[in-house]
Point group: C2
């Protein structure tokens, strides 16, 4: 069969470009799965006072950092070499931003694991940790949904994630107030409860990063940001 | 005078490229100055219980966000159109990352201002806030130095900033412990001191972002990351 060498070259270039875009998405998926695992493990380590597991979370976070560096390099390389058009440029820019957000979620999981190591007393901690489990359930669901919205290019799903962040914020506020009362009831609770406050805040921040990712997905798919102001409640940053 | 139109065109292109790079640097400088101002103002608002000032900090943070968006768009446009070589690509990529870090520093200032509004009691707060002033002094100095290191392309200065983050971490730990004892002494301190804990944590995180910026500057100038492990202390994320 006769083949046009120029056409073959073009097809090859197109294939390499598509492969590179696919690689970005697979890297994001891998980062997301790893960050989810570290988050879950950090809470299990806290609940079961499992210091070995906490240390593994701390170690594994560097894997997420490495994938982020890969995404950044691949994305900048793609932009420089291929000069992508609007939609692809939005895709590549979104991948970089989302990788950055997932990297910070990994940091937050690591931070929970570090705090778990620092909480030495476990007396009466169990009932207080229950609310964290509830927050984590919401946070994990939202983060999973936003990763799916990126993979499926589903702006509607991303927008629904974006709207639901207020639930996490509300749980955080309730838990924060409960912790204050535990501290007031018994001064021995103050140290461990201070750590639990920061852990709850970390989960709330995972929710914030999830919301930011949702915004990037909406912009990537539609070329414009979500239409109205996000319902917010806390003093969250 | 006779002018070669092709050479003139080339010079024009080079000039536009240099102008674009200069614009990136000026945007970073503007963001840095604004973030510094918001940080300082947030602490003054807290110290003087000045709610009007706190609200101004919260409002002005959106200006930083707007400059970050400008940096991102300008940087991606530059990469796509000019296909910059290694050193320029490092410069542009660093500008994006640094803009992201400064944006988060702005968020932290905004968060301090929001917490300042939430602290209703001011009884006995003054002496506890003194340590925050000390932390802020260090944080502001470090942030100022790292912005200078970016503007001057001074990797040695950036590396010295990078090494000094441990000082901020140490002050944070001391203050955190002091706050725990205030809480234990008097249950009425628990609410306000919990906010002060988060404010101190925010300053410590400004230090972390400053350190990240320092790493980017070192990489931008030298093409490689700082040589050894950074001395660290806290459970910081």
């Amino acid at each position: 069969m006769w083949r046009d060498p120029e056409m073959s070259e073009k097809l090859h270039t197109v294939r390499a470009y598509d492969d590179a875009l696919l690689d970005l998405d697979q890297s994001i998926e891998k980062m997301g799965a790893l960050a989810t695992k570290l988050l879950m493990d950090s809470l299990v380590a806290l609940e079961s006072r499992n210091n070995a597991l906490a240390r593994r979370v701390i170690e594994q976070d560097s894997q997420i950092d490495a994938i982020e560096r890969h995404v950044d390099e691949a994305a900048l390389g793609l932009i420089a070499l291929r000069q992508p058009m609007a939609a692809d440029l939005r895709h590549i820019a979104a991948a970089m931003k989302i990788a950055g957000a997932i990297e910070r979620i990994g940091d937050l999981a690591k931070n929970i694991a570090k705090r778990s190591l620092e909480i030495d007393s476990d007396t009466g901690l169990q009932d207080k940790i229950l609310s964290l489990r509830q927050m984590m359930g919401l946070v994990e669901r939202q983060f999973g949904q936003v990763l799916k919205s990126y993979a499926m290019r589903d702006a509607d799903l991303a927008e629904s994630v974006w709207r639901q962040d207020a639930e996490i914020d509300n749980l955080y506020r309730l838990f924060f107030r409960a912790l204050l009362t535990f501290m007031m009831e018994d001064a021995r609770n103050i140290g461990p409860c201070a750590h639990l406050m920061f852990i709850a805040k970390n989960l709330e921040r995972v929710g914030d990063h999830t919301t930011n990712i949702a915004e990037k997905v909406v912009f990537m798919v539609r070329g414009e940001a979500p239409s109205d102001e996000r319902p917010r409640g806390t003093v969250g940053d």
